[in-house]
């Protein structure tokens, strides 16, 4: 997991290393200051030597300036390295998501992916910055300060060693316990937010059933629960600073006692004692920082895991080597196809489908929800792979085509279709980047979208809001069809794409298809008999099995399911 993320440092390796180098040198310089201060006191003041005072003063000043510039540089490079890593991670995830197959996409929710790309990346960014700034620096401070102390006076420094061991143990225990509690808290916290979300979204239901009090009670219990857990977790953390203070104070007291004796005994100078006091702070602070950084980094591990999950997700559909780059015609074969969304599952969605569709035919598909209509057509453009059998387009197994070529030639208008924010023209050109205005207009004429587009004030330059919220359902569907037509595909699949279009327009779309793109194989999925009855042949799907495949007239005679649907849909009209 960490390896996956580390790979994305790439061009920012230099910045990361520079951060560490600068931060380390900064530590060495900072550590020198108390040492020089000792010199100033002992040689300067006690020796009553003005020159020494000036000498040490200037030296310390230079070091402080050096430390300042190093700190400045380290901060700058750390910022560049961490934000660069974050940008790389977002880029890597996003480009990787683009290679996802449909079944990969199904696995993640949109909200989940958005969180991974934003919040989780920010967490990792902060943790990484912490890592290169603090996690190298703090141990270094610890080591340097400790060795300096040892150099000054080995016996007295034993005080530090004991204090450090004590503090490490205490902080370790605190962190361990706190982490355990925090791991319990976060899922509960998510639950709380989810219950708020439910109430915001379903407020009409809450109010209709007069359940405000009930929801209040429910929420109160959840809030109380969170309170209890958080208090538990944080009261452990409350030991942090007293423990730290305890160690510092003990060090000071012991140093004072032992130090006084040593100075009087002549084995220590006053200046050296003050340096030791300074190092006390340095050592303990660095431990404290380290423990904080440790918590932050552990907390970001969850984010890191979620990110690497996306990056390591293997797209289960890839173009084969030596892929075939042309699709000759729109002929389709299904050879005993069995398919399920979880490969090898006991209950396949499609069972033993065996079909042959001629190039240029118009095929209707009808059947109830869950009868796997969409699943059937999604196999043609290889949005999913079959479990058993094979699907052929123009006599070639779809698995042998280059994916991009195949999907250009097999154009699907999805059931859950979306328009993107941008002008109508921009949206249409998704089908063909280089389409001229005339070509776009032509496609819209075929899809019967021209009439309403021309009524818009800005015509083809009308701006479509995100999700196409400023056009009606029927208009949206027609735009989506036009967009698919611009690809000039050999096979055109409409997956329930005219459900919101009125029957008259629906019929005229079909007529124009028959007239203007006769060579294109057209597959039309619909809930409405009227949308499919003009088709050359109609597939009746039932529970993943082909129940009938014939013309409208024949099916009416021979197929029970078809008759049934026909009856329920036509009865009303015949009454009048």
């Amino acid at each position: 997991m960490i390896k996956t993320l580390m790979k994305e440092i790439k061009q920012y390796k230099k910045d990361s290393i520079l951060t560490i180098v600068f931060a380390s040198i900064e530590v060495f310089m900072e550590i020198l200051i108390p040492l020089l201060m000792a010199g100033l006191i002992d040689k300067g003041i006690e020796g009553k030597n003005m020159n020494e005072v000036i000498h040490y003063g200037i030296l310390m000043f230079i070091i402080a300036i050096g430390t300042l510039s190093l700190g400045f540089l380290a901060g700058k490079f750390a910022a560049r390295a961490s934000t660069g890593l974050a940008a790389n991670l977002r880029d890597r995830m996003y480009t990787h998501i683009q290679t996802f197959s449909f079944s990969n996409i199904d696995k993640y929710s949109t909200a989940g992916l958005v969180t991974r790309l934003t919040t989780d990346v920010t967490n990792v960014q902060n943790a990484y910055q912490m890592l290169i700034r603090i996690c190298i620096r703090s141990p270094l401070v610890l080591i340097c300060a400790l060795s300096m102390a040892l150099m000054i006076n080995p016996e007295l420094s034993m005080v530090f060693v004991v204090a450090v061991i004590f503090l490490v143990c205490v902080l370790g225990i605190i962190m361990r316990m706190a982490m355990k509690y925090f791991n319990d808290v976060f899922p509960k916290y998510d639950d709380l937010n989810e219950s708020v979300q439910e109430n915001v979204v379903g407020i009409r239901v809450v109010k209709s059933f007069v359940r405000e009090k009930y929801e209040d009670e429910k929420f109160k219990r959840a809030a109380q629960n969170i309170y209890r857990l958080f208090v538990k977790a944080e009261s452990v953390l409350a030991f942090n600073s007293p423990a730290m203070m305890l160690s510092v104070y003990s060090c000071i007291l012991l140093l004072s006692w032992l130090g006084a004796k040593s100075i009087v005994g002549g084995s220590l100078t006053t200046g050296e004692l003050t340096s030791l006091f300074s190092y006390t702070m340095n050592i303990m602070m660095s431990l404290m920082m380290l423990s904080m950084a440790f918590v932050m980094i552990t907390m970001s591990l969850a984010s890191a895991r979620r990110i690497s999950e996306v990056i390591n997700e293997k797209s289960d559909l890839v173009s084969p080597e030596n892929a075939i780059k042309t699709v000759k015609n729109g002929e389709i074969y299904f050879h005993h196809v069995t398919f399920s969304y979880q490969h090898g599952s006991q209950e396949p969605v499609l069972r033993d489908i065996d079909l042959h569709i001629e190039s240029g035919e118009t095929i209707g598909i009808i059947g109830g929800t869950g009868s796997a209509k969409s699943s059937l057509v999604s196999l043609i453009s290889r949005l999913y792979d079959v479990d058993k059998g094979c699907v052929e387009v123009a006599g070639v197994d779809v698995r042998n085509y280059d994916l991009e070529v195949l999907r250009d030639e097999v154009s699907v208008v999805l059931q859950k279709n979306v328009l993107f924010s941008g002008t109508i023209l921009q949206n249409l050109r998704w089908g063909n980047e280089n389409a001229t205005l005339e070509e776009c207009q032509q496609a819209c004429r075929l899809a019967c979208a021209d009439e309403f587009i021309e009524r818009f004030e800005d015509g083809y330059n009308t701006y479509i809001e995100q999700g196409g919220s400023n056009v009606s359902g029927g208009q949206k569907q027609r735009l989506c069809i036009a967009r698919a037509l611009l690809k000039k595909p050999k096979i055109l699949i409409l997956d329930d794409s005219t459900s919101a279009v009125d029957t008259a327009t629906d019929a005229s779309i079909q007529q124009s298809f028959a007239k203007h793109i006769p060579d294109t194989t057209k597959i039309i999925i619909s809930q409405r008999i009227s949308s499919v009855e003009q088709a050359d042949r109609i597939i009746v799907l039932n529970d993943g099995v082909v129940d009938g495949f014939a013309t409208h007239e024949e099916l009416l005679k021979t197929n029970d399911i078809y008759q049934n649907i026909y009856e329920t849909q036509k009865k009303g009209k015949e009454d009048d």
Binding site: G71, T110, E194, G202, Q224, A238, Y249, R407, A504, Q527
Partner: protein
């Protein structure tokens, strides 16, 4: 911000006073410790140097005294951190509950105008900023200020000259850190905007990811993404850069102050102009460090204080929204018939009545039958834009009234009026002859069953969700309701049956199944009047039939208002109202409307789009 602090103060007066005292004690202990250095060097070390038999007993007692101070410091530090945990979490709990309860009391109009994301972010982001503020920033700032003051006073007692120098350096530090702070703040705002843009882009593209795929649009999508990703990297870099250098800069300015004081102090000490001993100097230098440190801490907290301020503003915005007001006086009560006379009772008789207190003090009982009338109703979501004009609808008990019309004709709006989600501008709506404005909203809504277009379910078992209709319903009653709604069959096929957990708004169920549950939920409530807003999304004919059948059974014996999105389902209505641009343009039953061959006929034959 002020209001927030006031709230905090009101809630935790004693806690806060104790915390404040602890902070002072703690700061005092620290200062005592530092001042002890002077005593140590000047009284217990320097005089003893060179003595043949140094006497350390004085030092020993002095150390004990200091140790006592230190102990007090440690205990106070713990007490204050521990108390703050309770204060912070307790206050957040209080705030959350208050927010939630207030939110539940807000009118529907608020939810219609405010995006769900905005409301959610109050509970998550804004509350989080407050946690940061209360648990860290406020104590940190308080202790920093107290430290600065106590240290400053102690410094004055040691040496006025050196104190002045420290003060000058402090001003430099404050000035520089403010400059850097505002720069970094500027870029943090920019970073926030860029995150918003990236967020929006990803959200749009990923929710359309399947379309991206079928159009081979991946490369273009990546290219666009790279551009905004780069912008974000740049602003994040700058924001972080300034935030990162703030720390070293303040620390080093602190160091400069330290060095300057040391050199000048040394010069003064050697020249003997003012009496500065080594002990004084050493103590002063430590104090100098303690004096500068808080400034660094304060500048670190500035950002989070600013963020909390914005968060608090949004929280109070929500808390200041006006609650739904209710001046209703008429309530529901159970009644029993004694000698053909209605009498109030607590028994579960299955009979209900409106309890209507009259101005003369008498109480009138009106049988609840389910007679709904809308007379000359005008309504608009905004006062200057009417959506419904002069609406007249009469629904006698047990009748089924249907509304049809194209998108935007105002069908769904009608559902908002009868249960008073919105109040009408003109005209009257009566329920069993009582103006609904007189009826208490809770009782009015209890007497109306609503099945909405989009089904919303809650986290919990299927049983819980059905019981939502009536909390005291037994399991048997819930199952009976489910079988009435035709939901029983699919529920039984679920692995855990009625105990199956639903999560994420019932996302593990199909649209049709969710609808069946919504019908069961309304059936358990058993109200005399139903408002059905049919589902728009396409469900297959078989499930649709089940849903329809369930609805039909539910409608039996109840007054029903149906908002129809599909015409096949409402042919048997007693009256069908065709709406256009907020007016009723045709009404009558199916046969008569078909004969007229006007709008309804066109809709029915599919000549005009419904949605």
């Amino acid at each position: 911000m002020k209001r927030l602090l006031k709230m905090l103060w009101k809630e935790y007066k004693i806690h806060l006073i104790i915390v404040f005292l602890c902070i002072i004690a703690n700061a005092y202990a620290t200062v005592q410790g530092t001042l002890f250095m002077q005593t140590l060097i000047d009284h217990y070390i320097t005089p003893l140097i060179g003595q043949p038999n140094p006497d350390f007993t004085g030092l020993f007692y002095a150390l004990i005294r200091v140790a006592a101070f230190f102990m007090m410091g440690v205990i106070c530090a713990y007490a204050f951190s521990r108390i703050m945990v309770n204060v912070t979490q307790g206050f957040l709990r209080h705030l959350r509950i208050e927010l939630f309860e207030h939110m539940e009391s807000l009118p529907i109009a608020y939810f219609d105008r405010t995006s769900h994301g905005d409301v959610m972010s109050v509970y998550t982001n804004d509350i989080d900023t407050l946690r940061q503020l209360i648990s860290q920033s406020i104590p940190q700032l308080t202790s920093s200020c107290i430290t600065i003051i106590t240290v400053f006073i102690s410094m004055l007692t040691l040496s006025i000259t050196l104190t002045c120098i420290s003060l000058v350096m402090l001003c430099v530090m404050v000035y520089v850190s403010r400059k850097i702070g505002s720069l970094s703040g500027h870029y943090f705002v920019k970073q926030q905007n860029d995150i918003g843009r990236v967020n929006g882009y990803i959200e749009e593209m990923i929710s359309g990811q399947k379309v991206v795929k079928v159009f081979n649009h991946e490369e273009k999508a990546i290219e666009d993404f790279r551009n905004i990703n780069n912008d974000l990297r740049n602003s994040a870099y700058k924001a972080n850069k300034f935030a990162n250098i703030l720390m070293p800069v303040t620390i080093q300015i602190g160091n400069f102050s330290y060095i300057i004081c040391a050199v000048i102090g040394a010069i003064l000490s050697i020249s003997g102009v003012v009496g500065i001993t080594i002990g004084t100097l050493v103590s002063f230098l430590t104090l100098n460090k303690n004096f500068n440190q808080p400034i660094g801490q304060i500048s670190q907290q500035i950002n989070s204080v600013a963020m909390a301020q914005a968060g608090a503003k949004r929280i109070f915005d929500l808390l200041d929204q006006k609650s739904e007001d209710d001046q209703g006086i008429v309530t529901l009560c159970r009644v029993e018939y004694v000698d053909g006379q209605m009498q109030e009772t607590l028994k579960r008789t299955g009979h209900w009545a409106w309890r209507h207190p009259r101005t003369n003090g008498e109480i009138e009982l009106v049988e609840m039958k389910g007679d709904i009338r809308l007379e000359n109703v005008d309504f608009g979501y905004f006062d200057d834009r009417m959506v419904l004009h002069d609406l007249n609808v009469f629904a006698a008990p047990g009748e089924k009234i249907a509304f049809v019309g194209a998108t935007g004709a105002g069908k769904t709006t009608i559902t908002n009026l009868i249960n008073r989600f919105y109040d009408i501008q003109k005209g009257t709506i009566t329920y069993d002859g009582i103006d609904i404005k007189l009826i208490k909203k809770d009782d009015l809504r209890k007497s109306l069953g609503v099945v909405l277009q989009d089904t919303h379910l809650f986290t919990g078992t299927i049983m819980d969700n059905i019981r939502y209709g009536r909390l005291d319903a037994t399991d048997e009653e819930c199952i009976a309701a489910a079988s009435l709604a035709n939901a029983d069959t699919f529920i039984k096929h679920l692995p855990d049956g009625y105990q199956t957990m639903l999560s994420g708004d019932g996302s593990n169920l199909s649209q049709g199944q969710r609808q069946l549950l919504a019908i069961a939920r309304a059936a358990v409530a058993n109200p005399p009047v139903l408002i059905l807003d049919e589902a728009t999304s396409s469900i297959d004919s078989r499930t649709e039939k089940l849903v329809q059948d369930g609805m039909d059974k539910l409608m039996q014996g109840r007054t029903t208002l149906v908002i129809a999105h599909r015409l096949s389902t409402i042919k048997n209505s007693d009256c069908i109202m065709v709406l256009e641009l907020g007016r009723i343009i045709e009404s009558g039953n199916h046969q008569s409307l078909m004969k007229e061959k006007k709008k309804y006929y066109q809709l029915y034959t599919g000549a005009i789009e419904m949605d």
